[in-house]
């Protein structure tokens, strides 16, 4: 497809369950960002890749969060032992790296 694709669009997880969120960036885009967006808030930076290298993971809230991009294209954000406070929309964005970042539709995670 032409845009950034994220899957699943919606995910309901029981507390304590592990989840994996997928991001397919635009082909050829070097930079990939993950953001967490709580209801009514702006996207909060989680982590950033340049090709397969994870250059910044300072925004990951705890060691339960892990992201990878092994071949420099598709990325996966994994959350282990999910908790209620993890409920949010997780947005992925890619860029060439600049100037414009294109966002996916996001994955809405609800932890019950």
């Amino acid at each position: 497809g032409a845009g950034v694709s994220q899957s699943p669009r919606y995910k309901v997880a029981k507390r304590g369950q592990d989840v994996a969120l997928r991001c397919d960036p635009i082909s050829g885009h070097v930079s990939l960002f993950w953001y967490q967006q709580a209801l009514g808030q702006g996207p909060e930076f989680l982590t950033y890749f340049q090709n397969e290298a994870q250059l910044d993971k300072s925004g990951l809230p705890s060691d339960r969060f892990f992201a990878e991009r092994p071949e420099g294209s598709v990325s996966t954000l994994k959350i282990q032992r999910t908790q209620q406070e993890d409920s949010a929309v997780y947005l992925c964005a890619s860029s060439l790296p600049s100037p414009e970042a294109f966002f996916g539709q996001g994955t809405r995670l609800t932890v019950v």
Partner: protein
């Protein structure tokens, strides 16, 4: 690190003007503006590079004051389609790459 946006929310009638401000405590490489409608991905509006540049398309324009680390988005003769949440993204230069950090957003509602 998160830029501060003001106002938090604004309600306009069609045809009225609005200004949304964004300020950062960190030195900025560029400022990006996005609009997000409910349940949708943020959509890129424009990017401003350092140098006091002003840009615009249609009736939406923006300015960037690098020294003051501030940007403003100007919406003139607002239309119903302008409704949404506006985010400024500030590009911060770091050793390993540039990071895009978003403000909390400004909710804009245009009434007929």
């Amino acid at each position: 690190q998160q830029p501060v946006q003001s106002p938090q929310a604004v309600i306009l009638r069609e045809g009225e003007d609005a200004v949304i401000n964004c300020s950062s405590s960190k030195a900025l490489y560029s400022v990006h503006w996005y609009r997000q409608k409910h349940g949708e991905a943020p959509v890129f509006l424009m990017i401003l590079l350092k140098g006091g540049e002003q840009k615009g398309h249609d009736k939406i324009s923006a300015s960037f004051n690098e020294k003051k680390q501030q940007s403003s988005l100007y919406l003139t003769a607002s239309q119903l389609s302008y409704s949404g949440t506006y985010f400024c993204g500030t590009e911060i230069v770091e050793e390993d790459g540039n990071k895009l950090v978003f403000g909390a957003g400004t909710i804009l509602r245009v009434k007929s």
